[in-house]
Amino acid sequence: MDYVVVGAGPAGVIAAETLRRADPSGAVTLIGDEPAAPYSRMAIPYLLAGDIEPAGTHLRHGTGHYRAHGIKVVKGRRVTRVAAKSRVLTLDDGAKVKYDKLLVATGSRPVRPPIKGIDLPGIESCWTLADAAAIARKAKPRSRVVLMGAGFIGCIILEALAARKVDLTVVEMADRMVARMMDRQGGDMIKRWCEGRGVKVLTSTRVEAIEKTKTGFRLAIGRRAALEADLVVCATGVAPNVEFLKGSGVETEFGILVDHGLRTSVPDIFAAGDVAQGPELITGKPEVHAIQPTASEHGRVAALNMAGVPSHYRGSLSMNVLNTLGLISSSFGHWQGLPGGEIAEASDPDHFCYLRLCFKDDRVVGALALGLTQHVGVIRGLVQTGLPLGPWKKALQRDPHQVMNAYLDLTKAVP
């Protein structure tokens, strides 16, 4: 059996290793278009902050890991076409690769808003090791850096840029920071915290145009105002890498549509990770959850099904944890709440502490937490297991901070 995995990020690497274990006699090929050893994008901020060397971002350490596992790695080669009928891939050098089972784990790529000057040389995204190197060259202490976008990725980069001691301004179109992971209250606390630590944060602000100056860039914001910058970093969203599937018959909506077995609409083609749009844990609706835990879970389940080990994925749960200059926040599942559900909040803005729990019927379906680092995982435990809360629901509605005690009692850990 010839297994081919396209994309050597976490989803692809975990899938390749799982394929090897599940079918020791199959041939496993992992094709990625980046030049480096397979690495984790999410380690990039720590490289940028100077905490680790490039090798510290690698998904697997030690030389010969892939060879030792009988995984053939093809680096720096892009798949340009999938002929589904004949089961043949075309690479960018014209080479053809045959497959019996194919996994598409090509992730996503950064996209920029359509404004004048956005593609000027020197405006950087922060998505690959190459991007990180380019930013590191220019983000020197006291250099003026404008970060466009304060979404989840933007805020992670914010932390790394601040560690480089740059003079940092963040411009965000939405009315708050991390709008897709925090409500107004949480987003405002994060903004106030960052401002208190010397970062300028402009929310509800749009960059209208960018032009080159003698030493850097001028960004027009609003009607009259402008920002001067030595470096512009763009973190304004992503789009899934699906173009090479054109003509293959693989159905896409935002990402590649997959079922509970990570199968696409075309037989023997599977998809996993950031590129896949699969069932969400609670609603079952197809969603893209572009996060590391989903990439890892998708990769494993897809590989098992490819190898003929029937595996059912219940669905992905959106979850994020963020450190903005020392303020730690996390979000789980349906933190906006579900129709007909209830919400309980406990907030202490002076101490940057906030906990919000969302219920639907007798279970917790989502949560936000600010300033909470110990035992936060139990919130995932509650959402993931859908544990009926019984009398604890009322107790949690009165005091959300009882969540650990509720969990311990409900899981029968207490006699």
Binding site: Q292, S296, P415
Partner: protein, 157 residues
């Protein structure tokens, strides 16, 4: 035979010796806030439960780690944090549905129970036998028994 921590909360008096021993072993100071085992109290201290990682087979933390900083010790069976590899991203802390791997602000890394390399100090320090280190099979058996006792139809007193 691998051994596991067997926790019998009914024997716990909430004396916190386990937290002291754990923090001293790992952090070099008696600081319960840094302990990897935590005693939770119910009903204003009338019931207490020592809680830590069970070294679960699924190892959610390990699978979520983006840089392979978590690995299972083949001798003890414990999932251990490689501090020199951990970047402090905290994804494991939200991925673990038991909440037993946590971020340590001082080190900038995550910390979890590592069974002290095979000689857990919490068990050694526990004066009432609420925490013991026993053959894994036995804890499995005991857990099943305990579970069965709780899920039967008898109303609880």
């Amino acid at each position: 035979m691998q051994k596991s921590l067997l926790i019998e909360p009914e024997k716990c008096t909430s004396c916190l010796q386990c937290e002291m021993a754990c923090s001293f072993e790992h952090e070099g100071s008696f600081n319960p806030a840094k302990s990897r085992i935590k005693v939770f109290e119910f009903e204003h201290g009338r019931r207490a439960i020592p809680y830590t990682c069970t070294q679960c087979a699924e190892a959610w933390c390990l699978h979520a780690c983006p840089v392979e900083a978590l690995a299972r010790n083949p001798t003890t069976g414990a999932v251990e944090v490689k501090e020199d590899v951990c970047v402090g991203c905290k994804v494991c802390t939200i991925a673990c549905p038991f909440g037993t791997i946590n971020y340590n602000r001082d080190s900038g890394k995550v910390a979890k129970c590592d069974l002290c390399g095979g000689d857990p100090q919490c068990a050694a320090a526990c004066p009432t036998g609420a925490i013991t280190f026993v053959d894994s099979d036995w804890t499995g058996y005991e857990r099943m028994k305990a579970w069965a006792a709780k899920t039967d139809n008898q109303p609880r007193a």
